[in-house]
Structures are given as structure tokens and as C-alpha cells.
Amino acid sequence: MTKSDPFRAFRSLRSLSSFFLVLLLALPAFAEDTAATGQLLCKAIVSEGDEQLKLVAALADTNSDLVRKVLVAWPNDGVYLIDPGNGAKLPVMLEDAQDADGKQKAVRIDTGDYLKDASGKPEAFFANDLDSVDCDLRLKKAIKNTLDLMTLNDPDPETRRSAVMKLGMSQNPAYVPILQARIPKEANHMVQDALNDAIAIIQLKNPDPTIQIPAIQKLGARTLIASRDVLTDVVNDKTSTPDEVKAAQQSLSLIDGHIGRVDFFGTLFRGLSLGSILLVVALGLAITFGLMGVINMAHGELIAVGAYTCYVVENVFHSGLWLSPFGLSFHIPGLNLGGWQFQTYFIFAIPAAFIMAALVGILLEVSVIRFLYRRPLESLLATWGVSLILQQSFHLVFGAANVQVDSPSWLSGNFTVSDVILGYNRLFVIGFAIVIVFLTWLLLTKTPLGLLIRAVMQNRNMAACMGVRTERVNMLTFAFGSGLAGLAGAFLSQIGNVGPNLGQNYIVDCFMTVVVGGVGNLFGTVYSALGIGTVDEILQQVFGSPVVGKITVLVCIILFLQWRPSGLFATKGRGLES
């Protein structure tokens, strides 16, 4: 206990100081506000009782930043009364900056100027010496109401909307006229709808059935998920008339149907994005395994190479990075960028991840895989050895702990379409997957290299006889597949932490995706990735547990292969072995 107390004090001190920092930043705005607002505020602060409550409520119409700041400070003992010497009480706030003695300058609320002594110099005070303006519970409530009403004037529509809904959910009939008055003033459709919804929610409490029942029906027609609880209250309320209960039940069933659809589309969307992740991760393997027949167990580590490249690029854009591999220690200098320049790091990280993974892939191909094209089982074992070595190297270079890669701001956040939440990063991965599949398709079908790749894959000996340098084509194909793994890593770094075992979590899924899709068929991989992703997401919903969902998917895949042993799209061949 002795330890936690100073800690708590420190924390409250910190929140207090951050609060004052806000005040400090706001100070220049003081001058802009009209003196009239200041006068109104002062009047409200010095008055008492019901008069004060009325004045505070009246402040809601001012729509001034000054009022907002003072009202925030007031219940937190941030507004002080000072006797300037003439017996009058002058409301002031203290500036955050302290002088050498720990004193703070006072700012007059009525004028926005510093409180000056006789010589015209700003006076400074100890916060503890001053009387802060009292604030009882009733007043606090009034201030909060005023602040809530003031947010209705906030320039940000989203803030306005949530403020409106908050007022609605309070079900306080007093807000109805205020909200109704806002409707004609409101330009934004979303906020207008919210205002109507909020009014309807408040009207649920109205004892008059001619108002209440239409309100209930309106909420049902709007399928407002937020109103589900209040409608349930109406159903459970013993004083409700049978008509009301019936109307509420109808509305509830409408809303429940809507929730079902939202869940369905939400699951579908998450399944699609999960499938896209799988697709991005498995596409590289579809090329190295599916087209080249190389069982690359180090594919997961190539993904990790991409993810770590992203991590390094992020740190280079930031403040640099200390690495201490194998007992050495060296520093990668950083560019110390901030703001939007830093946010662009991901655009540079994507090609960097591709190139790094492709280089590692080339190294792997030249040193190991080249010798094992005719021995697929052995390529599996050798690449597993490589994967062990790479994993431990990540471990030694970047540490055993997972590292965090900060997403650029344009990848975080989400928006909603008809209550279905669409995350930007999930949307991004879907778009990313589409672009990658398209580019891969272009490369394989429309470029000379693609032609060579297909030729070598179809018949290596014949291609060699025709003068194709098969070794070089193999190397480039493998590099391309590895580069795709790197891209997948760059993306995975945005949706989770990066650790030495990152790739291990995906390798089994990757192989499953490629096998289910049909080895040697890229579009099979696309279908199987999206299918497995969606089924996985649905099963997770059904079983309520990701692990059980995953186990079921794996078992389903094993059973699926009973039915179609060579996957969804089997490569047709006449050979028995193929």
C-alpha cells in the first residue's frame, strides 16, 4: 500500500497537469471571445442557488470555447475567486506555467487579460492559497448538461451525433424541445436522423400512448440497434399497456432481424478480410509450391523477413534502431521524421519488404533448393532446417520478444455502413490482395518472364531444350514467390505484433490453402483462401472460440480432401504420378 499511494498521487497530478496544459493552449483564444460572454460567465460564477443554475443553463446558447473551457475547469476546482482589493470577487483561472517560486499567473475570466497589480505587472499566486469556486452536485449536473448541449454545436458531425444520442439515451423529457429546436438548424443528414431517433427514444417514456406508440414504431422502422435496450424496457415495464407492448415487440423483432443481417454481413466482411490475409500469405506459396513443386517450409520465415523489414523501415523513419546480433551491437540511424512524413513509411516499407524477402529467397534457392528440385520430400526437410536457422536469427537480431509496428494513421480507424463496421485495415487487406493477385496474373500471363515461367513449370526438359535458361527462371520464380511472402509479412505487421515465430502461425494454414485450392492453380488458391477464411470466421462465430473454429476447419479440410484429393481445381494431367 505504501507504494501505491504516491503512485496514485502522481497519476492524479499528471492528469491535472495535462488538464492545465489544455487550458494553456486555450489561452490565446481568450482574447477573441467577446467580453459579453465573459461577463455572463462571471455572473454565473458569482451568483448562487437556483439563479446560478438558470444562468449556467443559459450559457448553452453562447457556443463559445471560453465557456466550454471554464465549465470544464469549474467542477475540477480550476476556477478561483480573487479579491482584487476593492471587495468585489473576481473569477480567474490560473495559467499552467509556474514561475521559480511555484506561483502561477491568474487570467481574468471577464476580460481574458492577466490579473495585474497596481504597477500593471501580472500578479502570480499559489494555487493552494486561492479559494476555488464551490461546485455542488446539482451545479455539476447543470454544468454537464450545458456542456452536453454545447456539444450539439460542435463543428464535427460525428461528435454532434454521439452527443445527440447521449442526450436521447438519458430519456430526459426536458431535452425534447431542445433537440427539436436543433432539427431545422442542422445541415448534416446523419445528425438530423440522430436527432429524430433521440427524440423518439425520449418519447418512449412519454405516458401519452399517441406519442409513445408512434415513437416505438418509428424506432422499429429505423432498426436502431441502440434503442434495443430501451424498447426491451418498454416490454418489461409492468405499467405498459398491451398495445405498447405489442408495438415494442414488433419493433424489437424488426431490430433483431436487422442485427442478424448486420452480424451476417459483418461476419462475411471479416471472413473476406481473413481470407484475403490467407490469400496474400498463401499466394507466394502457391507459386513456389504450386508451380515449382518446392516444399518451402521456410515460407513462414520469409513472411517474417517482410514483417521485420517493415519494422526496420518504420524505425528508420522514426528515431533509428539499436540491434545487437551475435554479440555485436550497431545502430541504424533514423530520419527522425514526424507527422505525415512518418505516416508515409508504410509506402516505402512495402517494396522494401518485397525486395528483402526476394533477396533471401534468391539466396535460399541458390544455396539449397537448387539441388533438391527432384527430391520434393527432401526440399521439405532442408527448408525446415533453414526455417529453424532463420527463426533463431530473428531471435538473436531482434530479440525474443514481439516487436510492435505502429500502423500509419490512415490504416487505423473504421467507418460504418448500415451498422456494419468496416475497418480500414481490413478493407486495405482486401484491396491489397486484389492488387497482388492482379499483378501476379499480369506477370504470369502477359510478360515474357511469365511465359518462360509457365514453360519451365510445364516441362522443364523441353523448355531447356528450347534454349530457356531454366536455372535462371527457377531463381526468378522463387524470388517472386518469396517476395510475395515478404509483402504478406509487411501487411501482417500492421494487424499484429511481429515476433520470431510469426511465420510458424501461418505455415500450416498456407499449405492447407494451397492444397485445397489445387496445387498448380493460382485461382484455386484465391477461391480456397476466401472460402477457408469465410468458413473459419463463421465457425468462430458458431463455436464462440477461434481455436475450436480452427480445429474444425483443419478437420474439414482433411475430410474435404477425401472427396477431392487434388483440391478444388485439379491440374489435369495424364501422368499417374502427377
Binding site: 527430391r375 520434393p376 532446417g385 480452427k550 484429393p565
Partner: protein, 397 residues
């Protein structure tokens, strides 16, 4: 085909078996601790573990080296056998656990007050023993039946076995299947009335492991010498030709797969009381791959190879994880890489090469000798030849 057992081999096996089963335990229990020949309890325990690994490696080899089925999930059957033994051992703790309840501690922790029904029969050792055989056997039967029926072979078989292992591993990490979850079973106290923590019980378990290894060795030796063994190798070399000759290759493979699963399960059951713990980490996918490394390093397609490989790799592992804990995975990976790339016959194959080299150098370097040497060298490295033949996409076929 020559006789199954040659005299010199029988003598070697007999001598090694006598050393492992009689001499080593005697050196542990009868020689004074100060003596040079004394073998510590720790070493006995460690070697008991190695021998269990060797049995596991032999099952991997029976599948991979002899039948061409690279199973990446052999550790799953090992762990399942271990879990069955673990359940019995958990019941033998009785009320001596942390909570002093008549049910295993983790069940108390999960809020159970009575024993779940499927735990009850594990009070009896014969039942547990039956389950050690039946559960791995049943799983390998079902999985093998499904896999071989739809002619899943080669790499696809490997990937599927790995997926199955992965799924099982995820399943055993869950608490609600009441198999100990993340922590698995540990804190064992008694087995068949003996305290598992005493040196004498551990010595007994070591002897049991060595004896079981001998039985498995002789059994596999016999099995691979029978006609079934020949079909088995024929399947490895060219499954289609076996099919066209009228053999139901799937049934042969299924039989071998189930035998390997059951033997691995029994090895796991012997392993658990010696290490004193069983948890889902035992069936992680990389554990199975490690068993494949032992076989590859030792030399696949031979019966002695997996034993040598398992012991060799694990001795190095015991040393390296203490001396260079950070570099052990790199050593293991590198070792594997080297063996696959340059030493397809493993240590046994290397030994064969060395023997041949010695033979070469003692002979006169004339033309006929060289031809003879090449003819002789052929059977010395059948594995390398077989390796190139297995799973190759031979365009002429």
C-alpha cells in the same frame, strides 16, 4: 533376399542389448559412486529418455525409410500414448496433490468436485495400457484409412499429417477437454505401487525402455524381412508398379502406419514417467520434424540408423542447449541442412562410404578393381539411390 538375421549382426545386437539392459543398470546400482565406472541416476534417466526417442525414430524410419511415407505427425502418437500413461499416473497421485482432493489438481482448479466419467477407468493400469495401444492405433487407423483411400501420397501426406498434429496440439491446449490444458500432467508420484521419483523406479523404467527398444528392433527387423516388408519397400520405390502388380498398396501402408502409431504410442507411455511431465508442447509440429531429423542424421532405410541418430542428436542437444542455448536451433537446422544436401545416407551411409574407401585404398588401382568397387559401392548406398527414386517426377514413366 538374404536371411533376415546374419550371425555377426545377431552377436552385435546381443552384446549391445546386454550392455544396455544389464551392464549399465548394474553400473548405476552396484558400483560405488566414487568409481570411474559409476553411472549416475541422472545419466540413467537421460538415457532412458534417449532410448524412448530412439523407438520413436524407428517408427518414423519404418514409415519414411521403408515405406516412403514421410509422416510429420509421428510425435502426435507418441504424445497420445504419453497422455494415456499420464492419466493413469495422475490417478495414482490420489489425494497427495496440492489441493489434497481425490481428483487431479487441475480439475480442482477448473472447479470440478468429482471425477469426469472418462477419467474413471484410468485407475486401472491394464485399462490405461490398453488405451496406450488403442488410442494411437485408432487415430492412425482412421487417419491412415482416409488418407490412403483417397491416394494422398508424397508431400501431400506429409502436409496432412502435419495439419492433423497441429489441430491436435491446438485441441490439447484447451482446458475444457479436461486433459490438463496448457500445463498438461505433471507432479507424478506412483506407478504400479512404486514411487516414480526414486532412483530404483527410474532404473526400472530405463531397463523397460531398453528392453522395448530391443523388441521393437527385432520386430521391425523381422517385419521388414518378410514378404510384407518387400512389398513395403516396393511401395516406397514405385507405388504404381505395386498397384499394377495387383497389390492393394493402401492396405499395406495402412498396416504399417498403424503399427508405427502403436509403437510410437507405447514409446511415449514409457517416456512420460521418466521425464515426469506431458503437455501439448510434446505434440507441437516442430517436435515431429525433429524426430525426422534424427532419422535423417542417423541414416534412413536402416534399422540401426534411427537409433544412432536419435541418440547422437539428443546427446548433442543436451550438451548444446546448456553450452550454447542461443545457437542450438541454428546447429540443429544446419545439421539437418548438411545431412539432406550432402549426406543422404546419414551417419550409417557415411560409415558405409568410409568402409568402401578403406577397401579401395588397400586394393591395387587397376581398371577391374575400379569397376568392382563401383559395383560394390552400389549396395552400400541404397538409400541415396532410393532417395532419388522416391517421389521423383520421372518423365519417362
Amino acid at each position: 533376399m538374404q536371411k533376415t538375421f546374419s550371425v555377426s549382426e545377431l552377436i552385435t545386437v546381443f552384446v549391445l542389448a546386454v550392455i544396455a539392459i544389464f551392464v549399465v543398470p548394474c553400473l548405476n546400482s552396484m558400483v560405488p559412486q566414487t568409481s570411474f565406472f559409476y553411472i549416475s541416476d541422472f545419466a540413467i534417466n537421460l538415457w532412458g529418455k534417449y532410448l524412448c526417442y530412439a523407438i520413436l525414430a524407428m517408427t518414423v524410419d519404418l514409415l519414411w525409410g521403408y515405406t516412403g511415407l514421410l509422416s510429420l505427425g509421428q510425435r502426435l502418437y507418441f504424445a497420445l500414448g504419453g497422455y494415456m500413461m499420464g492419466m493413469y499416473l495422475m490417478r495414482m497421485i490420489g489425494s497427495l496433490g496440492q489441493y489434497h482432493m481425490p481428483i487431479p489438481d487441475f480439475l480442482v482448479f477448473l472447479g470440478w468436485t468429482r471425477l469426469p466419467t472418462f477419467w474413471k477407468p484410468f485407475d486401472s493400469f491394464p485399462f490405461a495400457l490398453l488405451m496406450m495401444v488403442l488410442l494411437p492405433g485408432f487415430l492412425s487407423l482412421v487417419f491412415g484409412f482416409l488418407a490412403f483411400r483417397s491416394r494422398i501420397r508424397g508431400v501431400y501426406f506429409s502436409i496432412l499429417t502435419q495439419a492433423l498434429t497441429y489441430a491436435a496440439c491446438l485441441l490439447f491446449f484447451r482446458n475444457n477437454i479436461l486433459m490438463g490444458g496448457n500445463n498438461g500432467f505433471t507432479d507424478f508420484k506412483f506407478m504400479l505401487g512404486h514411487d516414480t521419483r526414486t532412483a530404483s523406479t527410474q532404473r526400472g523404467l530405463y531397463i523397460a525402455s531398453a528392453f522395448f527398444l530391443l523388441i521393437v528392433y527385432l520386430g521391425f527387423k523381422w517385419l521388414t524381412g518378410t514378404k510384407l516388408g518387400k512389398v513395403q519397400r516396393a511401395i516406397r520405390d514405385s507405388e504404381n508398379r505395386v498397384l499394377f502388380s495387383g497389390y492393394a498398396a493402401a492396405n499395406f501402408k495402412l498396416f504399417i502406419f498403424v503399427v508405427a502409431g502403436v509403437v510410437a504410442g507405447l514409446a511415449g507411455a514409457l517416456y512420460v514417467p521418466q521425464v515426469g511431465i506431458i503437455n501439448p508442447g510434446e505434440m507441437a509440429t516442430d517436435q515431429s520434424l525433429e524426430a525426422v531429423v534424427w532419422v535423417a542424421v542417423g541414416g534412413r532405410g536402416t534399422l540401426i540408423g534411427p537409433i544412432i541418430g536419435a541418440v547422437f542428436v539428443n546427446v548433442i542437444k543436451s550438451w548444446a542447449t546448456r553450452a550454447y542455448p542461443d545457437y542450438w536451433p541454428i546447429i540443429l537446422g544446419g545439421m539437418f541442412l548438411l545431412v539432406v544436401l550432402f549426406l543422404p545416407g546419414g551417419l550409417v551411409g557415411l560409415f558405409g562410404h568410409c568402409v568402401n574407401l578403406v577397401k579401395h585404398s588397400t586394393k591395387k588401382p587397376d581398371l577391374t578393381a575400379e569397376i568392382n568397387a563401383e559395383v560394390e559401392a552400389e549396395p552400400a548406398a541404397p538409400v541415396a539411390a532410393a532417395a532419388t527414386a522416391t517421389g521423383t517426377h520421372n518423365p519417362s514413366e
